[in-house]
C-alpha cells in the first residue's frame, strides 16, 4: 500500500491508501475523493482527472507522455505540474505523494 494525499480545492486534505500498480485516479474514485470525475474511466480520453502534482514530487511522477499532453489541452488552468491522474501509476516510490485538485474539471 502507498499513501497518497489529495488536497481539495477547498484546502481539505484527504489521505488514502492506494494499491500499487493501480492509478492515482483509481485511488481517488475508490475513496470517493471529490473533484475527480474520470468520465472515461482512465482511457486518457476525457481530461476530467486533472491534478497538480506537489512540486516536491514532480521529479518522481515524471512528465506526461505525448498523448497525455494532447489530452491536457482540454483541461483548464493547466500548469507546469499538471498531470492526468489516470496516467500516474502508483508504486512504493510514490509513498507520501501529494496532489492538488483543480477548482474545475473539463
Amino acid at each position: 500500500m502507498t499513501k497518497i494525499t489529495f488536497i481539495a480545492s477547498s484546502g481539505a486534505r484527504i489521505d488514502v491508501d492506494a494499491v500499487d500498480g493501480s492509478t492515482v485516479m483509481e485511488a481517488a474514485i475508490k475513496n470517493a475523493v471529490p473533484g475527480i470525475t474520470a468520465e472515461c474511466g482512465g482511457a486518457c480520453a476525457c481530461a476530467t482527472c486533472h491534478v497538480y502534482v506537489d512540486e516536491a514530487w514532480t521529479a518522481k511522477t515524471g512528465k506526461p507522455a505525448a498523448t497525455e499532453e494532447d489530452m491536457l489541452d482540454f483541461a483548464f488552468d493547466v500548469r507546469p505540474n499538471s498531470r492526468l491522474s489516470c496516467q500516474i501509476k502508483v508504486k512504493p516510490d510514490l509513498d507520501g505523494l501529494v496532489v492538488a485538485i483543480p477548482e474545475r474539471q473539463a
Binding site: 472515461c40 482511457a43 491536457l72 489541452d73 482540454f74 488552468d77 493547466v78 477548482e103 474545475r104 473539463a106
Partner: protein
C-alpha cells in the same frame, strides 16, 4: 413548412448502437433515417477514442474505435440508410394518426412510425471554458462553432485551442478578419502538421499572431466583447478582440431528450428487456441511453438490444404480419436483402 421526409424508422444518434440497429431493422425490411449532431458516424467511438483499441467486441480480439465504425458502415450499406449530420434533434411529437414527427434545429421534419433513441450519453456539445462571465458573451461575441463566416468579417478574432478545428478556422477565417490571434497553451499542436505549417507561415508573413498562453479573463459590456486577457509564461497580455472562438472539445449532455415527455431515470430512459420500448409505445431506446436492471453500458449489449428492438418495431410498422425467424447464413431471402444471394 419544409418538405417532410417519410421513412419507417428514425434513429436519433449514429453511434455504434444506432448504426447496428440499421442492420437488424433492415433484415426486417424497415428503412432507416439517422440524425446526429456530430459531422460523421460513430458517436463516442469516433469522437472520444478513434485510435484506442477495444478488446470486447465478439470475434474481434482487437479493433480500434474508428475501424469498428468503418466496419459497421460497411455492414449496413446494403440497406442504404440515409444520414443527416450536424443536426440536433430538438423535438419529438406524436401525431393524431400515431405517426411520430421529429424536428431538427435546422427545421427539417421527418415522419416515421417508429422512433429509436440511440443517443448514448446525450448529444455532443462544445465544452465551455471556465472563464468568469463567459455566458454573457455567448451568441453575441463568443461562439463555439462557425455557422456563418460573415459573423467574423472585419472583426478582431481570437481563436483558442490546438486541434484541427482551431487551426482550420484560423486559416479559413484569417483572410476576412481585421485581426487574427491564435492562443494555445503550448507551442505543440494536435492538428494536422500541414495546417500547423500554414498557420506559422501566416505568422511569419505578419498576417496573424500566435500567443502561447491560456485565456484568463474577458472585458466588454452588454455581451459585446472588447478584449481578452491571456496568461502566459511571461505574465499577462491583453489582446483586442470582439469575437472569441474557444475550441476545447466536446462533452455529452442529455439535451432536448429531457423535454420529450418520456419517463426518465437519472437522465436515462427506462425500458423493458423484451422490446426495449420507452414509456411511450413506438419509441424505443437502445445503447448507453437506456436503463433496465442489470444494464451494462457496453457496445455488445447495445447490439443485442437492437436485435430484439427490431422485432418489436416491425410489429408496430406492420401489425399482423407474421415474422419468420431466419439465419443470415441459410436464408436466401435475407441474403437477397444483403445483396449476397448466389
Amino acid at each position: 413548412m419544409a418538405d417532410i421526409l417519410k421513412t419507417d424508422v428514425v434513429i436519433v444518434g449514429a453511434g455504434p448502437v444506432g448504426l447496428f440497429a440499421v442492420f437488424e431493422l433492415g433484415l426486417l425490411d424497415l428503412k432507416c433515417h439517422l440524425i446526429d449532431i456530430l459531422d460523421r458516424p460513430g458517436g463516442q467511438c469516433a469522437e472520444l477514442y478513434p485510435e484506442k483499441p477495444i478488446y470486447d467486441i465478439p470475434a474481434w480480439p482487437v479493433i480500434s474505435g474508428q475501424d469498428l465504425v468503418v466496419k459497421l458502415m460497411e455492414q449496413i450499406a446494403p440497406f442504404s440508410p440515409t444520414f443527416a449530420y450536424n443536426r440536433m434533434v430538438t423535438s419529438l411529437e406524436k401525431l393524431a394518426d400515431g405517426t411520430f414527427r421529429v424536428t431538427t434545429d435546422e427545421n427539417e421534419v421527418v415522419e416515421a412510425k417508429v422512433v429509436v433513441i440511440a443517443a448514448g450519453g446525450g448529444s455532443f456539445q462544445p465544452k465551455r471554458p471556465p472563464i468568469a462571465g463567459i455566458e454573457a458573451y455567448e451568441g453575441h461575441s463568443v461562439f463555439y462553432s462557425v455557422r456563418r463566416m460573415e459573423e467574423f468579417r472585419d472583426r478582431d478574432v481570437v481563436i483558442v485551442g490546438g486541434g484541427d478545428s482551431a487551426l482550420d478556422w484560423t486559416i479559413n477565417l484569417q483572410p476576412i478578419v481585421r485581426s487574427m490571434t491564435l492562443v494555445h497553451r503550448r507551442p505543440d499542436f494536435r492538428a494536422a502538421p500541414d495546417s500547423v505549417k500554414k498557420m506559422f507561415d501566416l505568422v511569419e508573413d505578419g498576417k496573424m499572431r500566435f500567443v502561447v498562453g491560456q485565456v484568463s479573463g474577458l472585458a466588454g459590456d452588454n455581451g459585446a466583447l472588447s478584449a481578452v486577457t491571456v496568461k502566459g509564461d511571461k505574465g499577462e497580455e491583453t489582446v483586442k478582440a470582439d469575437r472569441l472562438l474557444p475550441f476545447f472539445g466536446l462533452t455529452m449532455k442529455l439535451g432536448p431528450i429531457a423535454e420529450w415527455g418520456l419517463n426518465l431515470h437519472e437522465n436515462l430512459i427506462p425500458v423493458d428487456t423484451e422490446k426495449f420500448e420507452s414509456s411511450t409505445p413506438g419509441i424505443f431506446a437502445i445503447g448507453d441511453i437506456n436503463w433496465y436492471p442489470g444494464k451494462l453500458k457496453l457496445i455488445l449489449s447495445g447490439f443485442h438490444e437492437g436485435a430484439l428492438m427490431a422485432q418489436a418495431a416491425k410489429r408496430v410498422v406492420a401489425p399482423g404480419e407474421r415474422i419468420v425467424f431466419q439465419y443470415t447464413t441459410s436464408s436466401t431471402n435475407l441474403q437477397k436483402k444483403l445483396g449476397v444471394a448466389g
